[in-house]
């Protein structure tokens, strides 16, 4: 490859002419710089696992929020003479109607012990689970980031006191308190729902509200810690000091530096909070502390399905696998987001 004799007569005078600036620049190609969001999104799109999970989540959302509205059966509707139908089975009455030429929608997942179509119950159940996950994460995001940023921003004794409180809440075994709280809150909320102006609480369901309150009271501490440490590192980071030294105002620093650097962490932490909220909700519902009948949630459906496990395993397996799929998808999507937002993982 290397020429043994560089002075062979392949060289001519032109070769030794000075190169122009353009010629030189054409060699040192720079990769175009891409904005933070665009870069993150580009990397996310390149991650097949995350994208598959994203589409799974979208499909489940459509099934949970839109399809039940148009579904031929309602989740609380008890169809006569059709308890414990196997998937795609019709009761005798229904069979007679079909024979008479009527068209009936099949029970894709059969029916439960009260003759309710199980497919629509599972869909509505996942609606409840998703709602809990999304709203609870939003609550946690708001409380946690406000608390954490106040604590981190002011520092000093404010920080000390606020973090001691977090420490204490952190060491309290959460499940005990959740169980207690959701019991204790049930009646106050039911009473509140009878007060004019709070009627809407009934439509949401008191069980759900108490779950939200539990999350609001207990689960923000993790988020608060993360936000606080982010704010602290950013506050003391050299580029913020540099920006300040160059005369940037607080507004600009918060907007340009703190926010853009925090937002990745916030998005990722919130996304990963959703499955853990769903996880906890299903746990509570399984113990019978979540939503109230006839409203189903995936946890309570699984809990009911446990009784007939031997004869009707699909009654348990359907909600159990669906909830696993939801949590799995959110987890993997969150991991994908984290990889996309973490500049250390670039390339």
């Amino acid at each position: 490859m290397n020429m043994k004799n560089p002075l062979s007569f392949q060289l001519n005078v032109d070769d030794f002419l000075p190169a122009s600036k353009e010629e030189k620049e054409s060699l040192s190609q720079m990769r175009p710089s891409i904005g933070f969001w665009k870069d993150a999104m580009r990397r996310l799109r390149k991650n097949p696992v995350a994208m598959v999970c994203f589409w799974i989540i979208v499909v489940i959302m459509i099934l949970a929020f839109i399809v039940p509205e148009f579904y031929p059966y309602k989740y609380e509707e008890q169809i006569k003479y059709s308890t414990y139908l196997a998937p795609f089975e019709f009761s005798e009455v229904e069979q007679a109607r079909i024979d008479a030429g009527e068209k009936l929608f099949p029970h894709i997942l059969g029916t439960d012990n009260l003759g309710r179509d199980y497919a629509v119950r599972v869909m509505v159940g996942s609606r409840v689970s998703l709602l809990v996950g999304l709203i609870a994460s939003a609550i946690i995001l708001v409380i946690g980031s406000v608390y954490g940023s106040i604590s981190g921003f002011f520092g000093g004794w404010v920080d000390l006191v606020m973090m001691r409180i977090v420490d204490i809440i952190y060491t309290i075994p959460d499940v005990l308190l959740i169980v207690l709280l959701s019991f204790a809150l049930e009646d106050p909320i039911r009473n509140l729902a009878n007060v004019p102006g709070f009627k809407w609480l009934n439509t949401v369901g008191t069980g759900l509200i108490s779950i939200f309150v539990v999350f609001a009271l207990l689960y923000w501490v993790g988020m608060a810690r993360i936000v606080r440490s982010q704010v602290l590192t950013l506050k003391n980071s050299e580029y913020v000091t540099a920006a300040r030294a160059l005369g940037a105002g607080s507004g600009r620093i918060i907007r340009k530096h703190l926010l853009t650097n925090c937002i990745g962490t916030l998005v990722v932490t919130t996304t990963l909070q959703i499955p853990s909220s769903i996880f906890t909700e299903s746990f509570l519902s399984f113990l019978g502390l979540g939503v109230k009948v006839p409203m189903p949630s995936l946890g309570s459906l699984a809990s009911d399905g446990l009784n007939g496990l031997e004869s009707h395993p699909y009654l348990l397996l359907a909600p159990a696998l669906l909830i696993s799929l939801i949590i799995l998808s959110f987890n993997l999507f969150g991991d994908g987001l984290r990889d996309a937002f973490d500049p250390k993982m670039k390339n």
């Binding site: 309290i172 959460d174 395993p313 949590i327």
Partner: protein, 317 residues
């Protein structure tokens, strides 16, 4: 060191007191006392019962008695009070003291929980290390799939699915109780599933981090063999995050035990706790909560001290 421990113990006692107070008032906010559910009893009888157990007094009064002791007008019990570790009588299981219930039920839970924690550690640490050292290869991918599933499946799913498969379909393992040695397998596995996956993940990422550290390069440059590098230099550093997770893991195993004990019909404290909530058995709820809180807090304290022993950089202040 001693100063640190004293400080932490004070903080721990403070937290336990806080939990006790919080639980007490929360519980009394739940409407319908312990005797309402029993419809067969006449209103007079309920009143008599309320009086006997001091339910007619004002809340602060009840609180003071509960915390600091006395009463016992013909075994309305409460004698020593929480301060002396006396949790009074169960309101529902007549004749049983709460301490008695805890001491009979807890060992059952502890046995299952302890085995589960042990299993999680014994499997999780090597699995995580193997994944990290074979990064990107098939072993890593298989382990990665296992851990992602382990973290995503709620414990009731693991319990019911394993029960369905192994005891109902295959019929090789008992589906409940703890009568046989083999009855432990399913509950312990179900309880260990989540922490096992989590520890594997933790171990994998910390091992990856450690392997990239400069001191690992130094160890290699010294001419140490791969196994010495791994066992002496990497493992002790990589295991630190797992040690910090031990505290939360113990708490998590407790919460897992509620479900596992319910599904596998294990006569443990977790199942007891859930049923006493539905029964409004105030004193049992109180006693169990305080007991659990103290357990978790003490475990976290022990873990922090253990951490100091492994990592000389940590200054306990």
């Amino acid at each position: 060191m001693l100063k640190y421990i004293i400080k932490r113990v004070i903080l721990a006692i403070l937290t336990i007191w806080l939990v006790a107070t919080l639980t007490f008032f929360l519980m009394h906010a739940v409407p319908g006392g312990p005797f309402v559910a029993e419809k067969s009893i006449s209103p007079q009888a309920i009143e008599a019962l309320n009086k006997k157990f001091g339910m007619d007094k004002s809340l602060p009064e009840q609180y003071m008695t509960y915390m600091f002791g006395s009463r016992n007008e013909e075994t309305g019990k409460i004698e020593g009070g929480v301060i002396r570790g006396d949790f009074s009588l169960s309101l529902k299981q007549r004749g049983f003291t709460v301490s008695r219930i805890i001491t009979t039920k807890f060992p059952v839970s502890a046995k299952v929980g302890g085995l589960a924690i042990l299993l999680a550690l014994v499997v999780g640490i090597p699995l995580g290390s193997i994944a990290a050292l074979n990064r990107g290869k098939w072993a890593d991918n298989v382990i990665l799939v296992f851990t992602t599933c382990g973290i995503a499946f709620p414990s009731f799913v693991v319990c019911t699915v394993t029960m369905y498969l192994f005891s109902m379909k295959l019929g090789i393992l008992p589906s409940g109780g703890l009568d046989l040695g083999t009855s432990y397998i399913l509950p312990v596995f179900s309880l260990a599933f989540y922490p096992m996956a989590y520890i594997t993940r933790l171990m994998r990422s910390s091992m990856l981090d450690v392997v990239g550290q400069d001191y690992m390069r130094t160890a290699k440059a010294k001419g140490l063999s791969q196994s010495v590098c791994l066992f002496k230099h990497a493992l002790r550093n990589a295991i630190l995050p797992v040690v910090t997770y031990l505290g939360p893991m113990i708490a998590g195993t407790l919460s897992g035990s509620f479900i596992v004990e319910k599904i596998f019909r294990i006569p443990g404290l977790g199942g007891q706790f859930v049923s006493s909530i539905t029964n409004r058995d105030y004193t049992v709820i109180m006693g169990t909560t305080i007991f659990y809180a103290a357990l978790v807090i003490v475990m976290i304290l022990l873990v922090d001290i253990l951490y100091k022993l492994i990592d000389p950089r940590i200054e306990l202040k």
